[in-house]
């Protein structure tokens, strides 16, 4: 069933490619079917039973490469995030008549295949293949439908992330050679390796760079604001909503359990970089004039906190990281959609040219402020659950880091409320007085997001329950096989 879930989007992509005019509708239907399938699988999922829907067969026997996929709680949540967001992303672009829609939606769907694949791969090589496969569609989307400066920007993005991936590939091959003959890429084989401290340090850095570029974490982030700003908005949504979670997921699945001594050695550095990301990017977001770029920097700040929580290795830190990955995906897609609506109607995202939109578009303003409040982590919204757990986890690791990272609570409110004021409040100008309120299809994009904001905010127990046993197992793997002491709680 999992294999179907992975490759159904690819089949759909081919159908979409050939469908011509009806591309968007077919893409939407396919994405909804995919979502339904993943919900069905979630209903049959037993959180306590470890990796499920496991499938394995030989792919390249001579190299010990399996096609092996399966879901544990963490993977499942990220798969759900992907299948939930893709239909929304498809629907969000309905208003646009992109040139060559067949190709556009086919690329989105094939990206979905790669993303689901990344989150379910149980074999190092397969993981790497899906990881790279995810890059190609998004690269093409940005390149073909991006802004004016797209060629330079996408090239930089492509080379930067490819550089990271190659480091990861090198590390994977090294690990493969360390496995007992006949060698294997199987994740369990990699977990049970006995690596020296030096090897662990090297592999830590190879993995960490690959994942840190993807997230991105300071100072490996400079590709991100340009790419997010210049990409067509569905591309930005894919990048920020789902793709960056590949980085965090990579840390959880492939970095922490494989090189715990490396984490012991260098985790502090990773924490420091993450915490710097939080404050540094929040500060930069404060002085942005382009709303999309502002969201891009705020995303760096949020992901920095997620990364810090995960590297704290505490229960709350990791659990907060997992919940916040979902919340961030939902909120950032919402925010980018808001930015897209503004751009679509006003032909500008420059904050100083906007204002008073709440007067003419009350529904728009209401959805906007709900998503915005979720993104500044107001209690009873999804953002609070994640941020509270993350700060809690970071605090247990280091009081000072939590205090510094906590500044995001203040700075986030500053830049978001300032932006909201400049966009929505005050009086209209000759530009914004013509702002049309939300259309029905736009509402259908925003409603599911708002529902999820409150579901996770009010009753996160369901989602946390799905992931909790897997996180326990993960911490056990780190703890038991390598004797790294973990903080209690």
């Amino acid at each position: 069933m999992l294999t179907t879930l992975i490759f159904f989007p690819l089949l759909a992509a081919i159908a979409v490619l050939m469908s011509g005019e009806n591309a968007k509708k077919i893409a939407l239907i396919a994405a909804i079917i995919e979502f339904g399938l993943s919900v069905f699988m979630t209903l049959g999922f037993d959180p306590a039973a470890g990796t499920q829907y496991f499938q394995e067969f030989w792919w390249v026997p001579s190299l010990g490469i399996h096609y092996s996929v399966g879901l544990d709680g963490i993977s499942l949540l990220l798969v759900l995030l992907t299948t939930f967001l893709v239909p929304i992303i498809v629907l969000s672009s309905f208003k646009h008549n992109n040139k060559n829609p067949g190709l556009f939606y086919a690329l989105i769907l094939s990206m979905q295949m790669a993303l689901v694949g990344v989150f379910s791969a149980q074999d190092g090589f397969l993981f790497y293949i899906f990881w790279e496969l995810a890059l190609i569609p998004i690269y093409l989307i940005c390149l073909m439908w991006g802004g004016n400066d797209r060629i330079r920007i996408t090239l930089k993005f492509f080379i930067y992330t490819l550089f990271g991936s190659l480091l990861m590939l090198a590390a994977l091959i090294w690990l493969w050679m360390k496995t007992p003959a006949p060698h294997s890429f199987d994740i369990q084989a990699l977990y049970s390796l006995n690596l020296s401290a030096t090897e662990q340090s090297w592999i830590f850095w190879a993995f960490f760079l690959a994942f840190a570029i993807k997230m991105p974490v300071f100072p490996f982030h400079t590709w991100q604001p340009d790419t997010y700003t210049d990409s067509p908005t569905p591309g930005t949504m894919l990048l920020s909503g789902i793709m960056l979670k590949m980085g965090v997921y990579g840390v959880l699945r492939w970095l922490l359990p494989i090189v715990p001594s490396g984490v012991h050695e260098w985790g502090n550095t990773a924490m420091i970089l993450s915490v710097i990301s939080v404050v540094y990017a929040s500060g930069i977001a404060l002085v942005q004039k382009d709303f999309k770029r502002l969201i891009a920097y705020s995303s760096i700040a949020h992901v920095g906190l997620i990364s810090a929580g995960v590297f704290s290795l505490t229960m709350q830190g990791i659990q907060g990281g997992v919940i916040q990955m979902l919340s961030h995906g939902i909120n950032v897609v919402g925010l980018f959609f808001i930015a897209e609506i503004i751009l679509d109607r006003m032909k500008t995202r420059n904050l100083s040219e906007l204002g008073g939109i709440r007067l003419v578009a009350p529904a728009f303003a209401t959805y906007f402020i709900i998503i915005l409040l979720a993104s500044v982590a107001l209690p009873l919204t999804n953002g609070f659950i994640g941020e509270f757990l993350l700060l809690n986890g970071v605090f247990q690791y280091s009081t000072w880091m939590a205090a510094v990272a906590g500044l995001t609570i203040i700075l986030g409110a500053v830049y978001m409320l300032t932006a909201y004021q400049k966009i929505s409040l005050g009086v209209t100008n000759h530009h914004t007085e013509k702002f049309v309120d939300l259309s029905q299809s736009e509402k259908w994009v925003l409603i599911p997001l708002v529902v999820m904001i409150f579901w996770i905010g009010l009753y996160p127990g369901y989602f946390m329950g799905l992931a909790e046993p897997s996180i326990k197992t993960l911490r056990d793997v780190i703890h038991s096989s390598h004797g790294i002491s973990l903080l209690s709680h």
Partner: protein, 630 residues
């Protein structure tokens, strides 16, 4: 009955949902009435529970909210005498203010929106006071901050109002960060955030534990933000941008006392941390005096009341600092009565004056607004501490408690008390006595407010008159109703026994305050009414001290240049220099150097076979030599 307590916050939540989702279908008048009824329902239920008066605290479990490892946070409510007191204030005063708003907001185009926000506020405030753990309290805490933001910027076309709203939210968030870190430290220390677990563990701890000091100080940072204490008070005077009922409900009677409530709730922690208590009383005292001096020269009627709120909150913190928790709550209660009264009466004045708030343009209003005049007089006497109005008893109790702790505290509070009487009677006489100084249009338009506004005023005036008898000093009565009621829910501070002031002292205090107040009233009447000393319109005519006070010690300007501007400069520096030039420059540099290296190495590939062979031979020789030498 107590088990139904979960309904108390649900009523206004339903009100919020119905009004905000149904605003297109429902008639306009409906929202005001419906919103008021939901709060009334909460009040009646609170009253019913209060009358049954459970002896000890009862916890009402609602549902599991967050569970992560050892961390378990249910949404559940604690009903004890502390929360019951707050419940009655919030729903009772809240209801009156809802009713008042029906008349006050009648003409406003955002009528329904106003009531939906007001309901939402009551919901969060109830969450705050009922929560049985710190996270539920924090949820309410941030929620009321949100409503405060929405209501300060209610008239969102005005940029200044929006700035005030942002300022309030952000300043509160500074405090909230402290609060949140305090909560996390509580969790790390006690392994739980529920009041039951934390306080029963804290009871066994000795005094002066550094970690408890840290927790209490962090929580106090949160209280500073919410309850507008130095240095986080500057948002509250600006918050007067909101409609006047908002100033009454949120920025005087209820939300701003959340900080007091939180400290009272955590009294066990504070009692074992004498250092923090000292900090609390010093900050409270400084704020009380500082804000009172500013209020002396303000000419906007709401600004005067706003600074008086800051000052009175300072009083309450002094009470907390000397360990007189029930006294602090007593003052919260009486203050809720008379400050809501004063604000609403001021609203009635502003309503009559067609929006004018400057007392220099008022005067002689007592004839045109007899009810407003009468209730404002009662409010003024209550806040100034004229016996037997409500403020007298609670203030007197704080002064007496401060005296037993430290004469210095007592002295500064007494000075503040004198200042309070002066600035309040100044406003009172300027507004209601003398001759009218506004425009002809305004004079023509002057009218008493409709009953929906005056009835709540009268109720509050009665409460401000008799509310003080809830807590008579020992010289009058053996029973201190308020103190006795709260006793079961409060700890006795270990290091500071709640020593009572002597009867001689009490009598002296009462005598001296009556004489002083009489003197002040006489002087103020003489100065403002008989001699017509109206404050100057032009700032240039002010004396230097008055100018300094009028400009609020330039604190806003100082914050602007020491915090806000540097923050933006640093951010710009991060962006333009560090990010664009250094970090990205390095990245681009690496890629350029790769390109350069590629181009350079390419030159070697000339295609000349002879060169290749030469190079190969040269290389082999070099390798051989290397092996020979090393």
């Amino acid at each position: 009955m107590t088990q139904l307590a979960w309904l108390i916050p649900v009523f206004p939540l339903v009100g919020f949902l119905v009004i905000s989702l149904g605003n297109k279908i429902l008639p306009k008048q409906f929202s005001g009435v419906f919103a008021s009824l939901t709060v009334l329902a909460s009040f009646i239920l609170s009253l019913a529970i209060f009358l049954q008066s459970p002896e000890t605290g009862e916890t009402v479990f609602v549902f599991d909210w967050i569970k992560s490892g050892g961390l378990s946070i249910p949404v559940s409510f604690l009903i004890d005498h502390i929360s019951l007191t707050m419940l009655l204030i919030v729903t009772g005063v809240g209801f009156l203010i809802h009713v008042y708003s029906i008349g006050y907001m009648k003409e406003d185009e955002g009528y329904s929106r106003f009531f939906s926000y007001l309901n939402l506020f009551v919901f969060f405030m109830l969450l705050l006071v009922m929560g049985s753990n710190y996270i539920v309290m924090f949820a309410g805490w941030e929620g009321v901050g949100l409503c405060s933001y929405l209501l300060i910027g209610f008239w969102f076309k005005n940029t200044e109002y929006n700035n005030a709203a942002n300022k309030a939210f952000i300043m509160n968030r500074i405090g909230d960060l402290g609060f949140l870190l305090g909560i996390i430290l509580i969790y790390v220390t006690f392994g739980s955030v529920s009041f039951d677990d934390v306080f029963s563990a804290a009871k066994t701890l000795p005094d002066n534990q550094p970690v408890i000091t840290a927790i209490t100080l962090l929580l106090f940072v949160g209280a500073m933000g919410k309850s507008a204490q130095i240095p986080l008070y500057t948002w509250l005077p600006d918050a007067m941008a909101g409609p006047t009922p908002v100033s009454a409900l949120i920025h005087a009677a209820t939300m701003v006392t959340a900080g007091i409530y939180m400290v009272v709730r955590s009294n066990i922690l504070y009692s074992i941390s004498p250092f923090t208590l000292e900090v609390v009383s010093i900050i409270g005292m400084a704020t009380a005096l500082f804000a009172a001096t500013i209020a002396m020269v303000q000419t906007d009627i709401k600004k005067v009341l706003a600074y008086s709120t800051v000052s009175q909150l300072g009083y309450m913190f002094v009470a907390l600092g000397v360990g007189a928790y029930s006294t602090a709550l007593f003052h919260v209660t009486t203050h809720a009565f008379f400050k809501a009264l004063l604000f609403l009466a001021a609203g009635s004045v502003i309503h009559a004056m067609s929006g004018e708030q400057d007392v220099r343009k008022m005067g002689g209003l007592r004839k045109k607004l007899p009810i407003t005049f009468a209730v404002f007089a009662i409010g003024t006497m209550a806040i100034s501490g004229v016996p037997p109005f409500a403020g007298f008893f609670s203030k007197d109790e704080i002064l007496a408690r401060a005296w037993t702790q430290s004469p210095v505290l007592f002295f500064f509070l007494a000075v503040t008390s004198v200042l309070t009487a002066i600035y309040m009677f100044r406003v009172f006489f300027l507004t209601f006595y003398g001759t009218f100084r506004g425009t002809h249009d305004q004079e023509h338009h002057l009218h008493e407010s409709p009953p929906s506004m005056t009835i709540p005023l009268v109720v509050l005036a009665i409460l401000s008159t008799v509310g003080g008898f809830l807590g008579l000093p020992t010289v009058f009565s053996e029973h201190h109703f308020f103190g006795d009621f709260l006793k079961s829910s409060l700890s006795t501070p270990g290091t500071m026994l709640q020593s009572e002031a002597s009867h001689t002292f009490e009598w002296t205090l009462i005598g001296v305050s009556i004489i002083t107040l009489a003197g002040i009233i006489f002087w103020a009447f003489n100065h403002f009414v008989k001699k017509h000393r109206i404050p100057a319109i032009q700032e240039t005519e002010f004396k230097p001290v008055a100018k300094l006070l009028y400009n609020k010690y330039y604190i806003d300007e100082i914050y602007q240049s020491t915090f806000v501007k540097p923050l933006y400069s640093i951010s710009n520096f991060f962006w333009k220099i560090v990010d664009n030039s250094i970090v990205d420059g390095l990245v681009n540099g690496v890629s350029k150097s790769v390109v350069w290296a590629g181009q350079t190495i390419r030159l070697v590939q000339t295609g000349n076979v002879g060169f290749y062979i030469f190079a190969m031979v040269f290389g082999i020789i070099a390798m051989l030599l290397y092996n020979l030498v090393f």
